[in-house]
Structures are given as C-alpha cells and as structure tokens.
C-alpha cells in the first residue's frame, strides 16, 4: 500500500462517512462516525506525528462536509489518535506489531480487535460529546446519546471491516 493507496482509502472513508451520516438520521440520540476505522487501521509502524496529521485532515474534511460546527470531529479524532497506540499495545501480544502490519480484524483476532475498537471509539465519542457541549455541564445528560452511538458505530465498523477488509487483505 503506497501513498496513493492511502489517499484513495482516505477519500473512500470520507465519502462513506458523509453518505452514511446523511442517510441514517434517527434524531439526536444517534450520530454516525465510521471514519475512525481508517485511523485505527493505519500500519503499526506509522509515526504518531504523521498519524496526528492524518487525524486532523480526516476530521477537518468530515467537519467541512457535515451539517454541523467546524472542528468537532477533528478535535475528537486527535484525542483518539493520541491514545490509540497505547490501547493497541495493551491488547496485542508483545512483538506482534513492529512491522507494517495493518492492525485489522484478521491480524488481531475478533476479541482483541473488538476491544481495541470499543476502547478507542469510547475515547472518540467522549471527546465529541465534550466538544459539542463545550464543557462538562451536559455530560451526564448526553450519556444515552453517547452509548447508543457507540454501540451502533461499533456494529457498522465491524460490518465494514468484516465485509471489505477481512478477506481481501493479502
């Protein structure tokens, strides 16, 4: 996977995110974000600095095309990226990921991948919740929205990962 491959994947994730989030609209208790999968499955030897730049770019583009305030998704994606390698190191076995391996479902196995995904998404969703209400005041009140979205997004991302990347990635 070269640089052009990464950019094509980036654009596909942006398009998927925009179409899904405008098609699936069940009211304010559910927001859709599938773009974290792109950031979470960057090869394990990517440097954290370039990953932060990827996250910022992804968040900004998604924010620009979504019908909301600029900066919310990029702020959340940056926070998630800061923690994602730490979580990956926690769930994977030692020495597993020194190389260019993509930390996906096939490489990590179901349980490890799901725990990696849920932990990272939880950080991402908490950050979105804080950025949206610009502080802690509505945090408890927004808890149902966060948890429902976490559940649905995990499900959608698992389907995408299983359907598109699980078998064809060789």
């Amino acid at each position: 996977m070269g640089r052009s491959g990464n950019i094509i994947l980036f654009i596909s994730f942006v398009i998927t995110q925009i179409i899904l989030s405008s098609l699936i609209d069940f009211g304010p208790l559910l927001f859709i974000s599938v773009y974290p999968l792109f950031l979470l499955t960057r090869p394990a030897n990517t440097s954290l600095n370039s990953l932060l730049l990827w996250a910022f770019a992804m968040g900004m583009v998604v924010d620009y095309f979504s019908n909301s305030i600029m900066g919310i998704n990029s702020a959340a994606a940056l926070v998630m990226t800061l923690f994602q390698f730490r979580i990956l190191r926690m769930v994977s076995r030692k020495g597993d990921f020194d190389s260019q391996v993509r930390p996906g479902l096939r490489e990590l196995g179901l349980i490890r991948f799901v725990s990696y995904l849920v932990a990272s998404l939880l950080i991402h969703h908490i950050a979105i919740s804080l950025a949206e209400s610009f502080g802690m005041t509505n945090f408890i009140y927004n808890l149902p929205r966060m948890l429902i979205s976490l559940f649905v997004n995990t499900l959608i991302i698992m389907l995408i990962e299983f359907g598109l990347f699980y078998k064809n990635w060789r």
Binding site: I18, I19, S21, S22, L23, I24, D25, F26, G27, P28, L29, L30, F31, I32, L48, N49, L52, L53, A55, F56, G59, M60, D63, Y64, F65, S66, N67, S68, I69, M70, G71, I72, S74, A75, L78, V79, L82, A131, E132, S133, F134, N138, Y141, N142, P144, R145
Partner: protein, 277 residues
C-alpha cells in the same frame, strides 16, 4: 540529531497535538466565520448531488409538482391573511394616513440539506441574497418555527435550525398569554422546553404554545406545539415540555420571514438603549 532522544520526540509529538487541538477548538468557537465558506462552494453542489441521490429513498417524486403548487397557494393565503389582519387591527384604523402594507412578507424556499442527528443542526436553503434573503431573518413553516438565517451567499442561505442547543425562540401559552424562551434540549427532535413561566400561571396539558411575536424575527401566533408535562424549577418557575407540531425529518418547504418594519424597530431599540446610558 532530532528525534533521537525520546524526550525531544515526545515533546515534538505533544506540541503537534496541542497545536492541532487548539486550531480545532478555535474553529469550534469561531463557527460563524466558516458558515460563509460552507455555502459558497463545493458543499452546496455536493449536497445537491447527494440530495438527488438520496431523494429516491426519502422523497416521493410524483408529489413534487403538487407540492410546488401548494407552496404557492399557501404563500398567497398567508399574504392575504396578513393583509386582512392589518386591516382589522385597531391601530391601523385609527390613523388614516398609515399605509396598509402588511407587517410581514414571505419568501418560499426549498431545503437542500437538513439534519436532526447533531447537537448543532443546520439547514441549507436554495434562496440567497439575490432573492432578497438577509442575515438574521426568521424561517418558519406552516406548523412551527424552523430557524434563523445565519449566513447568506448569492444563491443559498445557511440557517441555524431550531434543533440547535444554542438557539431559542420567544413563545407563549395561547390561553394565558404567559411567555418565556423555548429551547431545544438535545434529546429528541420532536420535543422542546418552554422555560421561565411564572409559578402562578395556570395551564392544562394539551394547551397550545404559539410564538409571542416579541422578537422581530417571527410573526406572532404561529402554532408551535402542545403542553405535555411540566415541572417546577427554582421554586418559582414552570418548566414545560412542549410536543412540537413540526416534524423536522419530513420538512421540505419553508418560508423565510421578511419583517418590513425591522429596520425601524431596530432603530428604536438602539435609540432607547442609547438614552438609558
């Protein structure tokens, strides 16, 4: 040299993270700067394309012409109603030299993009400055308040939806006339909260809530919803949950409110503020 020492490497990463995060947060707090950019270029085109793409799912094509006709009809009736109201009002009949122009005019518009699944929802309309739309005009439908115009380009306008936790509308209970701000609480798209209704006011479940007309944005007496339940806050106020008539998911056509007296009212307000100081 650089990046060899783990401490320096860590500091560089931290600095990069903080810089990008600060940029993001400054974007959040300066949203109004970017609204203009959002409707001037790619977004609206992309949205139109996508609207065409998704409308097969969301929208029944055959009804479009009928809807157009109904919108025009509705507008004509609104205008007539407004004119008749002015003629009926006692102030108008007192002074014979007052012209009988209506207080409000309406510009019909179609929604290009809308959402209900965020805390800060926005709507893009297909009418802009070339059609006479200006910043800070109200947007209504026949069954409620839709929002307030926040940025205008030549052909499109960007509207802060009522489904936005920073937005509020002045509303009153039609039976008693008690008024207060109505806000959206961010839980469900068909409920809102009417706040600061004094404790001694009597009302019943099912009473209609309408716009108060105390702001220059919206005409009075647009039906908004019905009283569902209430609770007492701070010992002296009712906080009333209102079931909205408006269904934001199936909203396609709206009217932009042009207040013909807005300049005059704003001028008076400025004058009085000046004299107080």
């Amino acid at each position: 040299m650089w990046g060899k020492s783990p401490v320096i490497k860590f500091l560089i990463t931290l600095l990069l993270f903080l810089t990008l995060e600060v940029i993001s947060i400054s974007f959040i707090s300066n949203e109004s700067v970017f609204q203009q950019a959002k409707i001037s270029g790619v977004v609206v085109k992309l949205r139109s394309v996508m609207d065409g793409f998704t409308s097969g799912v969301k929208y029944y094509f055959g009804l479009q012409d009928v809807n157009d006709m109904l919108v025009k009809e509705n507008l004509r009736l609104l205008k007539e109603n407004e004119r008749l109201k002015t003629r009926l009002s006692p102030e108008a009949s007192l002074s014979s030299n007052t012209s009988l122009s209506a207080d409000y005019a309406y510009i019909p518009a179609k929604i290009i993009a809308n959402s209900t699944n965020k805390m800060h929802n926005y709507i893009i309309l297909n009418k802009g400055s070339s059609h006479g739309v200006k910043k800070d005009m109200g947007v209504i439908s026949s069954v409620g308040v839709v929002g307030v115009v926040s940025a205008v380009s030549e052909r499109y306008s960007y509207v802060i939806s009522f489904l936005n936790i920073n937005q509020s509308v002045s509303a009153k209970i039609s039976t008693s006339g008690a008024f207060g701000p109505m806000v959206w609480e961010g839980r469900r798209s068909d409920y809102a909260l009417l706040k600061e209704i004094p404790f001694h006011i009597d009302f019943m479940v099912g009473d209609t809530v309408v716009t108060s007309g105390f702001s220059t944005l919206f005409p009075p007496d647009i039906p908004l919803g019905t009283v569902r339940k209430s609770s007492v806050t701070k010992g002296s106020y009712h906080e009333i949950q209102v079931k909205l008539f408006q269904n934001f998911n199936s909203l396609h056509y709206v009217n932009i409110v042009v207040n013909n007296n807005k300049d005059e009212l704003d001028f008076i307000q400025r004058e009085s503020n000046g004299s107080v100081r």
